[in-house]
Amino acid sequence: MKAKIKEYLDAVFADAERRASDPSRVRELKEEMLGDLYDKYDHMIENGKSPSAACNAVIAGMGDITDLLDSVVDTAPRTDAEEAPLSAEPTLTSEEREKLQKKRERAALLTSVAIAMYILCWIPLVILSEIFGDLGSMVGLPIMFLMIAGATAMIVYGSMTKTKVTEAEKERDDDDDDDEEDTERRFPVYKAISGALWVLTLVAYLVVSDLTGAWHMTWLLFLMAAALDNIIKAIFDLRRKGT
Protein backbone atom coordinates (compact mmCIF):
# COMPACT_ATOMS: atom_id res chain seq x y z
CA MET A 1 0.00 0.00 0.00
CA LYS A 2 2.87 2.33 0.71
CA ALA A 3 3.94 1.76 -2.88
CA LYS A 4 0.69 3.35 -4.01
CA ILE A 5 1.72 6.59 -2.35
CA LYS A 6 5.00 6.57 -4.23
CA GLU A 7 3.20 5.77 -7.47
CA TYR A 8 0.85 8.69 -6.94
CA LEU A 9 3.70 11.05 -6.22
CA ASP A 10 5.64 9.85 -9.26
CA ALA A 11 2.63 10.51 -11.46
CA VAL A 12 1.97 13.95 -10.04
CA PHE A 13 5.61 14.98 -10.24
CA ALA A 14 6.33 13.49 -13.68
CA ASP A 15 5.46 16.55 -15.70
CA ALA A 16 7.31 18.93 -13.37
CA GLU A 17 10.44 16.78 -13.44
CA ARG A 18 10.42 16.97 -17.19
CA ARG A 19 9.82 20.70 -17.46
CA ALA A 20 12.07 21.94 -14.71
CA SER A 21 15.17 23.94 -15.45
CA ASP A 22 16.68 22.13 -12.48
CA PRO A 23 15.07 18.69 -12.09
CA SER A 24 17.23 17.88 -9.05
CA ARG A 25 15.24 20.41 -7.02
CA VAL A 26 12.00 18.74 -8.07
CA ARG A 27 13.37 15.34 -7.11
CA GLU A 28 14.48 16.65 -3.73
CA LEU A 29 11.04 18.01 -3.02
CA LYS A 30 9.55 14.69 -4.01
CA GLU A 31 11.96 12.88 -1.70
CA GLU A 32 11.12 15.20 1.17
CA MET A 33 7.38 14.84 0.65
CA LEU A 34 7.60 11.09 0.29
CA GLY A 35 9.35 10.78 3.64
CA ASP A 36 6.72 12.86 5.36
CA LEU A 37 3.86 11.03 3.66
CA TYR A 38 5.29 7.67 4.71
CA ASP A 39 5.55 8.90 8.30
CA LYS A 40 1.95 10.04 8.19
CA TYR A 41 0.93 6.68 6.79
CA ASP A 42 2.81 4.78 9.50
CA HIS A 43 1.21 6.95 12.17
CA MET A 44 -2.26 6.19 10.82
CA ILE A 45 -1.53 2.46 10.77
CA GLU A 46 -0.39 2.68 14.39
CA ASN A 47 -3.69 4.33 15.22
CA GLY A 48 -5.55 1.38 13.79
CA LYS A 49 -6.43 2.57 10.29
CA SER A 50 -6.54 -0.02 7.54
CA PRO A 51 -3.75 0.18 4.91
CA SER A 52 -6.07 1.26 2.13
CA ALA A 53 -7.88 3.82 4.26
CA ALA A 54 -4.57 5.24 5.46
CA CYS A 55 -3.25 5.35 1.92
CA ASN A 56 -6.29 7.26 0.69
CA ALA A 57 -6.23 9.61 3.65
CA VAL A 58 -2.57 10.40 3.06
CA ILE A 59 -3.07 11.09 -0.62
CA ALA A 60 -6.20 13.14 -0.03
CA GLY A 61 -4.51 15.11 2.72
CA MET A 62 -1.84 16.32 0.35
CA GLY A 63 -3.90 19.03 -1.20
CA ASP A 64 -3.27 20.72 -4.53
CA ILE A 65 0.46 20.95 -5.20
CA THR A 66 0.27 22.39 -8.70
CA ASP A 67 1.26 25.90 -7.60
CA LEU A 68 4.02 24.44 -5.48
CA LEU A 69 5.35 22.44 -8.43
CA ASP A 70 5.14 25.46 -10.72
CA SER A 71 7.32 27.48 -8.37
CA VAL A 72 9.91 24.70 -8.14
CA VAL A 73 9.94 24.26 -11.90
CA ASP A 74 10.74 27.95 -12.38
CA THR A 75 13.52 27.96 -9.81
CA ALA A 76 16.83 28.72 -11.48
CA PRO A 77 19.48 25.98 -11.40
CA ARG A 78 21.98 25.98 -8.55
CA THR A 79 25.21 27.74 -9.38
CA ASP A 80 27.35 25.37 -7.35
CA ALA A 81 25.76 22.15 -8.57
CA GLU A 82 26.72 20.45 -11.80
CA GLU A 83 25.25 21.69 -15.08
CA ALA A 84 21.50 21.45 -15.26
CA PRO A 85 20.22 19.39 -18.18
CA LEU A 86 18.65 21.26 -21.11
CA SER A 87 14.89 21.59 -21.01
CA ALA A 88 12.89 19.71 -23.65
CA GLU A 89 13.14 21.24 -27.12
CA PRO A 90 9.80 22.74 -28.08
CA THR A 91 10.66 23.45 -31.69
CA LEU A 92 11.36 21.01 -34.49
CA THR A 93 14.94 20.05 -35.14
CA SER A 94 16.02 20.18 -38.75
CA GLU A 95 16.06 16.38 -38.76
CA GLU A 96 12.47 16.20 -37.65
CA ARG A 97 11.53 18.80 -40.21
CA GLU A 98 13.15 16.73 -42.96
CA LYS A 99 11.28 13.64 -41.86
CA LEU A 100 7.98 15.48 -41.85
CA GLN A 101 8.72 16.88 -45.30
CA LYS A 102 9.42 13.40 -46.65
CA LYS A 103 6.18 12.11 -45.16
CA ARG A 104 4.33 14.94 -46.80
CA GLU A 105 5.93 14.26 -50.19
CA ARG A 106 5.03 10.61 -49.93
CA ALA A 107 1.44 11.42 -49.12
CA ALA A 108 1.22 13.73 -52.10
CA LEU A 109 2.71 11.08 -54.37
CA LEU A 110 0.20 8.49 -53.19
CA THR A 111 -2.67 10.85 -53.89
CA SER A 112 -1.44 11.61 -57.40
CA VAL A 113 -0.98 7.94 -58.26
CA ALA A 114 -4.42 7.22 -56.87
CA ILE A 115 -6.05 9.83 -59.08
CA ALA A 116 -4.24 8.44 -62.08
CA MET A 117 -5.57 5.03 -61.22
CA TYR A 118 -9.10 6.40 -61.03
CA ILE A 119 -8.78 7.85 -64.49
CA LEU A 120 -7.22 4.78 -66.05
CA CYS A 121 -9.20 2.09 -64.28
CA TRP A 122 -11.62 1.54 -67.18
CA ILE A 123 -8.87 0.94 -69.73
CA PRO A 124 -8.07 -2.70 -68.87
CA LEU A 125 -11.77 -3.48 -69.02
CA VAL A 126 -12.20 -1.98 -72.48
CA ILE A 127 -9.04 -3.44 -73.95
CA LEU A 128 -9.61 -6.92 -72.58
CA SER A 129 -13.21 -7.10 -73.69
CA GLU A 130 -12.20 -5.89 -77.17
CA ILE A 131 -9.61 -8.60 -77.50
CA PHE A 132 -11.19 -11.45 -75.57
CA GLY A 133 -14.88 -10.63 -75.69
CA ASP A 134 -16.99 -11.72 -72.72
CA LEU A 135 -14.13 -13.52 -71.02
CA GLY A 136 -12.20 -10.30 -71.25
CA SER A 137 -14.89 -8.31 -69.47
CA MET A 138 -15.09 -10.93 -66.77
CA VAL A 139 -11.43 -10.33 -66.05
CA GLY A 140 -11.41 -6.66 -66.82
CA LEU A 141 -14.23 -5.73 -64.45
CA PRO A 142 -12.59 -7.04 -61.27
CA ILE A 143 -9.35 -5.40 -62.33
CA MET A 144 -11.17 -2.09 -62.64
CA PHE A 145 -12.65 -2.36 -59.19
CA LEU A 146 -9.34 -3.41 -57.72
CA MET A 147 -7.77 -0.30 -59.14
CA ILE A 148 -10.55 1.84 -57.72
CA ALA A 149 -10.25 0.20 -54.29
CA GLY A 150 -6.48 0.52 -54.31
CA ALA A 151 -6.67 4.17 -55.32
CA THR A 152 -9.17 4.96 -52.57
CA ALA A 153 -7.01 3.21 -49.98
CA MET A 154 -3.99 5.22 -51.06
CA ILE A 155 -5.87 8.49 -50.85
CA VAL A 156 -7.24 7.75 -47.37
CA TYR A 157 -3.81 6.70 -46.11
CA GLY A 158 -2.19 9.70 -47.69
CA SER A 159 -4.67 12.18 -46.30
CA MET A 160 -4.45 10.75 -42.77
CA THR A 161 -0.66 10.93 -42.79
CA LYS A 162 -0.81 14.44 -44.15
CA THR A 163 -3.17 15.57 -41.41
CA LYS A 164 -0.75 14.23 -38.82
CA VAL A 165 2.03 16.14 -40.49
CA THR A 166 0.17 19.42 -40.67
CA GLU A 167 -1.03 19.04 -37.09
CA ALA A 168 2.46 18.45 -35.86
CA GLU A 169 3.73 21.43 -37.78
CA LYS A 170 0.90 23.64 -36.64
CA GLU A 171 1.64 22.83 -33.05
CA ARG A 172 5.17 24.12 -33.34
CA ASP A 173 5.24 26.73 -36.09
CA ASP A 174 3.27 29.94 -36.18
CA ASP A 175 -0.20 29.66 -37.59
CA ASP A 176 -0.17 30.17 -41.33
CA ASP A 177 -3.91 30.76 -41.75
CA ASP A 178 -4.07 29.40 -45.30
CA ASP A 179 -5.71 26.04 -44.63
CA GLU A 180 -9.10 25.20 -45.99
CA GLU A 181 -10.05 23.46 -42.77
CA ASP A 182 -9.13 26.67 -41.08
CA THR A 183 -11.75 28.72 -42.89
CA GLU A 184 -14.37 26.08 -42.19
CA ARG A 185 -13.45 26.04 -38.55
CA ARG A 186 -13.41 29.79 -38.12
CA PHE A 187 -16.67 30.37 -39.98
CA PRO A 188 -19.36 27.86 -39.30
CA VAL A 189 -21.47 30.19 -41.44
CA TYR A 190 -19.20 29.49 -44.38
CA LYS A 191 -19.47 25.77 -43.75
CA ALA A 192 -23.24 25.99 -43.80
CA ILE A 193 -23.28 28.05 -46.97
CA SER A 194 -20.86 25.70 -48.67
CA GLY A 195 -22.90 22.65 -47.74
CA ALA A 196 -26.11 24.23 -48.93
CA LEU A 197 -24.45 25.27 -52.16
CA TRP A 198 -23.56 21.73 -53.07
CA VAL A 199 -26.99 20.34 -52.34
CA LEU A 200 -28.60 23.10 -54.37
CA THR A 201 -26.17 22.45 -57.21
CA LEU A 202 -27.10 18.80 -57.28
CA VAL A 203 -30.79 19.64 -57.37
CA ALA A 204 -30.23 22.21 -60.10
CA TYR A 205 -28.22 19.70 -62.10
CA LEU A 206 -30.95 17.09 -61.96
CA VAL A 207 -33.74 19.52 -62.74
CA VAL A 208 -31.96 21.30 -65.59
CA SER A 209 -30.78 18.08 -67.12
CA ASP A 210 -34.23 16.58 -67.00
CA LEU A 211 -35.78 19.66 -68.53
CA THR A 212 -33.22 20.22 -71.29
CA GLY A 213 -32.11 16.64 -71.79
CA ALA A 214 -28.58 17.95 -72.25
CA TRP A 215 -26.93 15.57 -69.79
CA HIS A 216 -23.74 15.77 -71.79
CA MET A 217 -23.29 19.39 -70.78
CA THR A 218 -25.09 19.98 -67.54
CA TRP A 219 -22.28 18.45 -65.47
CA LEU A 220 -20.52 21.76 -66.07
CA LEU A 221 -22.84 23.06 -63.38
CA PHE A 222 -20.63 21.32 -60.81
CA LEU A 223 -17.57 23.11 -62.05
CA MET A 224 -19.37 26.40 -61.70
CA ALA A 225 -20.46 25.45 -58.22
CA ALA A 226 -16.86 24.68 -57.28
CA ALA A 227 -15.80 28.09 -58.56
CA LEU A 228 -18.61 29.77 -56.64
CA ASP A 229 -17.60 27.91 -53.49
CA ASN A 230 -14.06 29.20 -53.75
CA ILE A 231 -15.29 32.73 -54.36
CA ILE A 232 -17.40 32.60 -51.21
CA LYS A 233 -14.48 31.21 -49.24
CA ALA A 234 -12.27 34.00 -50.54
CA ILE A 235 -14.85 36.56 -49.45
CA PHE A 236 -14.80 35.19 -45.92
CA ASP A 237 -11.03 35.07 -45.82
CA LEU A 238 -10.68 38.62 -47.08
CA ARG A 239 -13.28 39.83 -44.60
CA ARG A 240 -11.34 38.29 -41.73
CA LYS A 241 -7.98 39.58 -42.87
CA GLY A 242 -9.47 43.00 -43.39
CA THR A 243 -10.70 43.46 -39.82
Binding site: E28, L29, E31, E32, M33, L34, G35, D36, L37, D39, K40, H43, G61, M62, G63, D64, I65, D67, L68, S71, V72
Partner: protein, 122 residues
Amino acid sequence: MSITADLIRGHTDTIILASLLRGDSYGYRINRALGDLSDGRYEFKEATLYTAFRRLEEEGYIRSYWGDEETGARRRYYTITPEGRVAYDRLMQEWREASELIEKLIHFGADSDDAGTVTQRI
Protein backbone atom coordinates in the same frame (compact mmCIF):
# COMPACT_ATOMS: atom_id res chain seq x y z
CA MET B 1 -14.79 25.61 12.46
CA SER B 2 -14.24 27.02 9.01
CA ILE B 3 -13.25 30.42 10.42
CA THR B 4 -10.71 28.59 12.53
CA ALA B 5 -9.32 26.76 9.52
CA ASP B 6 -9.02 29.97 7.51
CA LEU B 7 -7.37 31.80 10.36
CA ILE B 8 -4.90 29.01 10.93
CA ARG B 9 -4.07 28.78 7.25
CA GLY B 10 -3.56 32.54 7.16
CA HIS B 11 -1.06 32.26 9.97
CA THR B 12 0.87 29.28 8.61
CA ASP B 13 4.09 31.26 8.54
CA THR B 14 3.80 32.35 12.15
CA ILE B 15 2.98 28.84 13.28
CA ILE B 16 5.95 27.34 11.44
CA LEU B 17 8.32 29.98 12.79
CA ALA B 18 7.02 29.43 16.31
CA SER B 19 7.59 25.71 15.94
CA LEU B 20 11.15 26.22 14.72
CA LEU B 21 11.89 28.56 17.59
CA ARG B 22 11.64 25.55 19.82
CA GLY B 23 14.18 23.70 17.72
CA ASP B 24 15.04 22.49 14.23
CA SER B 25 12.46 20.20 12.74
CA TYR B 26 11.15 18.73 9.53
CA GLY B 27 7.81 18.87 7.75
CA TYR B 28 5.96 15.96 9.26
CA ARG B 29 7.13 16.57 12.79
CA ILE B 30 5.87 20.15 12.64
CA ASN B 31 2.54 18.92 11.34
CA ARG B 32 2.34 16.32 14.10
CA ALA B 33 3.04 18.96 16.72
CA LEU B 34 0.18 21.03 15.34
CA GLY B 35 -2.12 18.03 15.39
CA ASP B 36 -1.23 17.29 19.00
CA LEU B 37 -1.68 20.90 20.09
CA SER B 38 -5.10 21.06 18.48
CA ASP B 39 -6.12 17.69 19.95
CA GLY B 40 -6.18 16.14 16.51
CA ARG B 41 -8.59 18.73 15.14
CA TYR B 42 -6.23 20.42 12.73
CA GLU B 43 -3.40 19.46 10.40
CA PHE B 44 -1.76 21.24 7.50
CA LYS B 45 -2.14 19.88 4.00
CA GLU B 46 1.27 19.02 2.57
CA ALA B 47 0.65 21.52 -0.22
CA THR B 48 0.13 24.36 2.27
CA LEU B 49 3.06 23.34 4.43
CA TYR B 50 5.61 23.00 1.67
CA THR B 51 4.53 26.17 -0.07
CA ALA B 52 5.08 27.96 3.23
CA PHE B 53 8.50 26.35 3.67
CA ARG B 54 9.60 27.58 0.27
CA ARG B 55 8.21 31.04 0.88
CA LEU B 56 9.89 31.36 4.28
CA GLU B 57 13.19 30.08 2.90
CA GLU B 58 13.01 32.49 -0.01
CA GLU B 59 12.45 35.36 2.40
CA GLY B 60 15.44 34.22 4.43
CA TYR B 61 13.48 33.49 7.60
CA ILE B 62 14.40 29.81 7.63
CA ARG B 63 17.16 27.68 6.23
CA SER B 64 17.11 24.03 5.27
CA TYR B 65 19.70 21.26 5.38
CA TRP B 66 19.70 17.54 4.82
CA GLY B 67 20.02 15.63 8.06
CA ASP B 68 21.78 12.34 8.53
CA GLU B 69 19.43 9.68 9.75
CA GLU B 70 20.72 6.46 11.21
CA THR B 71 17.82 4.57 9.73
CA GLY B 72 15.71 5.19 6.68
CA ALA B 73 15.81 7.94 4.09
CA ARG B 74 17.41 11.31 4.70
CA ARG B 75 15.26 14.16 5.94
CA ARG B 76 15.25 17.82 5.14
CA TYR B 77 15.50 19.87 8.35
CA TYR B 78 14.56 23.49 8.74
CA THR B 79 16.08 25.99 11.12
CA ILE B 80 15.04 29.53 11.94
CA THR B 81 17.38 32.39 11.06
CA PRO B 82 17.93 35.64 12.97
CA GLU B 83 15.78 37.40 10.36
CA GLY B 84 13.17 34.75 11.04
CA ARG B 85 13.14 35.58 14.74
CA VAL B 86 12.61 39.24 13.93
CA ALA B 87 9.81 38.31 11.52
CA TYR B 88 8.21 36.14 14.17
CA ASP B 89 8.13 39.01 16.66
CA ARG B 90 6.60 41.26 14.03
CA LEU B 91 3.95 38.68 13.08
CA MET B 92 3.08 38.15 16.73
CA GLN B 93 2.60 41.89 17.14
CA GLU B 94 0.38 42.01 14.05
CA TRP B 95 -1.72 39.16 15.33
CA ARG B 96 -2.18 40.83 18.70
CA GLU B 97 -3.30 44.06 17.06
CA ALA B 98 -5.61 42.27 14.64
CA SER B 99 -7.29 40.14 17.27
CA GLU B 100 -7.84 43.16 19.51
CA LEU B 101 -9.39 45.10 16.66
CA ILE B 102 -11.63 42.23 15.62
CA GLU B 103 -12.76 41.80 19.22
CA LYS B 104 -13.83 45.41 19.23
CA LEU B 105 -15.55 45.23 15.85
CA ILE B 106 -17.58 42.11 16.46
CA HIS B 107 -18.87 43.60 19.69
CA PHE B 108 -19.69 46.82 17.95
CA GLY B 109 -23.33 47.87 18.56
CA ALA B 110 -24.06 44.99 20.96
CA ASP B 111 -24.39 47.43 23.87
CA SER B 112 -25.51 50.32 21.70
CA ASP B 113 -28.70 52.34 22.41
CA ASP B 114 -29.13 53.60 18.84
CA ALA B 115 -32.66 53.42 17.53
CA GLY B 116 -31.97 52.53 13.96
CA THR B 117 -29.15 50.57 12.36
CA VAL B 118 -26.24 52.59 11.10
CA THR B 119 -24.31 51.07 8.22
CA GLN B 120 -20.59 51.47 8.67
CA ARG B 121 -18.58 51.27 5.51
CA ILE B 122 -14.98 50.17 5.93
